[in-house]
Amino acid sequence: MFLHNLKYELLSNIRMKDFIFWMMCFPIALGTFFYLGFGKVYNNEIVFSKIPVAVVEVNEDEVFNTTVKSIEAEKDPLFSFTYTDKAEAEKLLKEGDVEGIITVDDDLSLTFFKSEIDQTIIKSFVEQFVSQKAVITDIAMNAPEKLPEVTEKLNAVPDAIENKSPSGGNMNPYDSYFQNLLTMTALFGMITGVLCATRNQGNLSAIGARKSISPNYGLVRLISSLTAAFITQIISVIAATTFVLFILKINLGDNIAMVYLSGAIGALVGISIGFFIGAIGRSSERTKGAVSTTVMMFLCFLSGLMVGDMKNTVEEHFPIINRINPAALTSNLFYCLSLYDDYNRYMENLLSLMIISILFITGGFLLTRRKIYENL
């Protein structure tokens, strides 16, 4: 009986063509928007690249010119300098061709158009240059015999810092949007979960009424309905994950099988919550569907679908929310796979999601069991 029910539940799900189309289409469309929107932001804005600077010489400063030449001769120079007049420099600055203007007069001064990290790097360079000049002047006055040694130290590039990379994983914070996209796709299961509940309750849908009068055992009917919803949802998750991994080529870690498994767990938790929402009260299928969509979007907002670091902000102020928010827990699965070398935290999140699923499915069963209708 279970397999018979499952077959027809699957057929019924697949025949909701426009619903299935949007379910599949939405993550792919949004993934494409994400990719077009900020697929290259990390490389363009966060990864360091040479900063273009304009130099306007009012008075010639030989020391400054020597420093400029020595920087340009470096293997990976910090800056590329363009010597020009004030009007041209301002034009370049306004058009974004240079990040700042260094004006060489009796003193050095700076002109910027915006206050971002490149401007801070330029300012820091000028401050250091002025400081070095001050040190040389001071030593030349007080201990001229030590001037060659001091100049040598100032010209040497110190190697004071030993850098350690925090992880072999993907440190691109913008990829968290894709992790949250897959989370949202999985949690769309909430909508299918609602359908499972309402289409098995005689007072909420015609198909529910038809099922209620059939000689089918209620529990088997519900389990087959939930299984069919899970299979339908899995197809949508597989499509979205494959698109993100192989078309957009987003790095979600090396363990591809676990990435798909994470999506499946997310789908399960989505369906269980949807099933629970669908089982509460006597509101119409549409109202319950709208409530589940809104709840899902809000949970996804808290896990960082719209604002990338929202999950971490929540972690700082209300960490308990991240422990119980299924969207945060699911996106954490993808996050752990792409960043961590071990699976400890992954397993913690997985366990929490399993507990949430069991709780909601049990709740849903308790709310839908033993319903008898006097009339329909």
């Binding site: 426009d18 949007w22 002109t111 801070t120 820091s124 100032l154 969509t293 670091d309």
Partner: protein, 386 residues
């Protein structure tokens, strides 16, 4: 006015979801406003969040901590490696620095290698800024030591010479403005997403309900002329749209007070008004295809989130790739966002009346285009049906 009354009746049924969206938006808006300040500054050096552990704990090492604290914000990070990783990933900490034992002693002997141990994301702007600052500081300190000073004296001298102010001017007022202004700008930017979500989710559902076969037949067999029908539906639509606009702008007035009635505030409100009209036209356009009620929320999400991400609502336009911007220019949200940024002079935009009018004009053109398309599709459908 029976059709108008029916419109209102259906609207009340579909209002729940809109109210949830609006309430969530207002809560987020209130949280953002509460956490912002009124401080104002022209050029602002970018300060990184740096965690420092001083294992040497000498006068010289404390001086380097002071130097870092002067330029950056010192934050505390847990010793747990996973938490450090989370912190770096979400940029809650940019640099985790350890001043190694023997820092002062090494400097005294002229050694400058391996004084610090740093955990950071390699190759980023932030790491580059910090490393270059610290290396140059060490260069200055070691040069001053070579000039005959002790590490402590050298550190003090280095800090002193580094505290000289460099004259910095901003080419215009771009980037200037209080944090409250930033929040106000964000409020108007996020309105784009809320307008789209609320209007498509509610207005399309109302229009589709009115197109329901039974209701439609009942209206058609009544004595109400088709002109009057159209007027009543349009009136209902306008009442709903104006209601949403007044509610959300009213919330803005509560949050930002008098700054909503400054020149910038008024222009932002005008921009938002034109935009909500565009969204209304988009809703009519979608409804003309008579999609199934079940997929309306999905369509709202695709259009709302899609346009918001592509056009700079969630991610600033200046960070978007060229392809995204090229596509965005063909979408109304891009011009709305550009209008907001032009008014507030954010993201490198400079205010000019002509620039602002172009943004408004393009949005009106979009509204007109959607209106014409809706008329065309509706006419075709009517002809096909008859």
């Amino acid at each position: 006015m029976k059709i108008f009354e029916t419109f209102m009746k259906i609207m009340r049924k579909h209002l729940k979801l809109s109210l949830i969206y609006i309430s969530v938006f207002m809560v987020v808006g209130i949280m953002m406003t509460k956490s912002s300040s009124d401080s104002e500054d022209g050029y602002k050096a970018r300060r990184l969040r740096v965690s420092v552990t001083d294992l040497d704990d000498t006068e010289a090492s404390r001086a380097v901590v002071d130097f870092i604290a002067k330029n950056h914000d010192i934050v505390k990070v847990s010793d747990d490696m996973n938490k450090q990783l989370d912190s770096l990933y979400y940029s809650k900490t940019h640099i985790i620095l350890t001043i190694e034992n023997g820092y002062s002693e090494k400097l005294e002997h002229g050694e400058t290698t391996g004084l610090f141990n740093e955990l950071s994301v390699p190759g980023t702007n932030m790491t580059q800024l910090f490393d270059s600052q610290l290396n140059r500081y060490i260069g200055l300190v070691s040069a001053t030591i070579a000039g005959g000073n002790t590490p402590a004296e050298a550190s003090a001298k280095a800090s002193e010479v580094l505290s000289q102010e460099i004259e910095t001017v901003m080419l215009n007022d771009s980037g200037k403005g209080s944090e409250k202004e930033d929040v106000q700008n964000h409020y108007f930017l996020y309105l784009a997403y809320i307008f789209i979500s609320v209007l498509i989710n509610t207005l399309c559902q109302i229009h589709l309900s009115l197109k329901n076969k039974d209701i439609n037949n009942r209206i058609n067999c009544s004595g109400v002329s088709s002109y009057s029908q159209l007027l009543q539906v349009m009136l209902g639509t306008f009442v709903f749209v104006i209601g949403v606009y007044v509610l959300l702008i009213g919330a803005g007035v509560v949050l930002f007070g008098g700054s909503m009635f400054t020149e910038k505030g008024m222009l932002s409100m005008l921009n938002a008004f034109v935009f909500i009209i565009v969204v209304m036209m988009i809703c009519l356009f979608i409804s003309s295809f008579s999609p199934s009620m079940d997929v309306i929320s999905l369509i709202a999400n695709v259009i709302g989130l899609g346009m918001s991400f592509l056009c700079g609502v969630f991610v600033p336009q200046q960070y978007l790739g060229d392809v995204a911007l090229s596509i965005g220019k063909f979408l109304p949200v891009y011009w709305y966002v550009k209008g907001c940024n032009t008014v507030m002079e954010k993201e490198g935009e400079i205010f000019s009346v002509s620039g602002f009018l172009i943004c408004i004009g393009v949005q009106i053109a979009f509204a007109a285009a959607f209106f014409c398309l809706t008329m065309l599709i509706s006419k075709n459908r009517r002809q096909t049906e008859s």
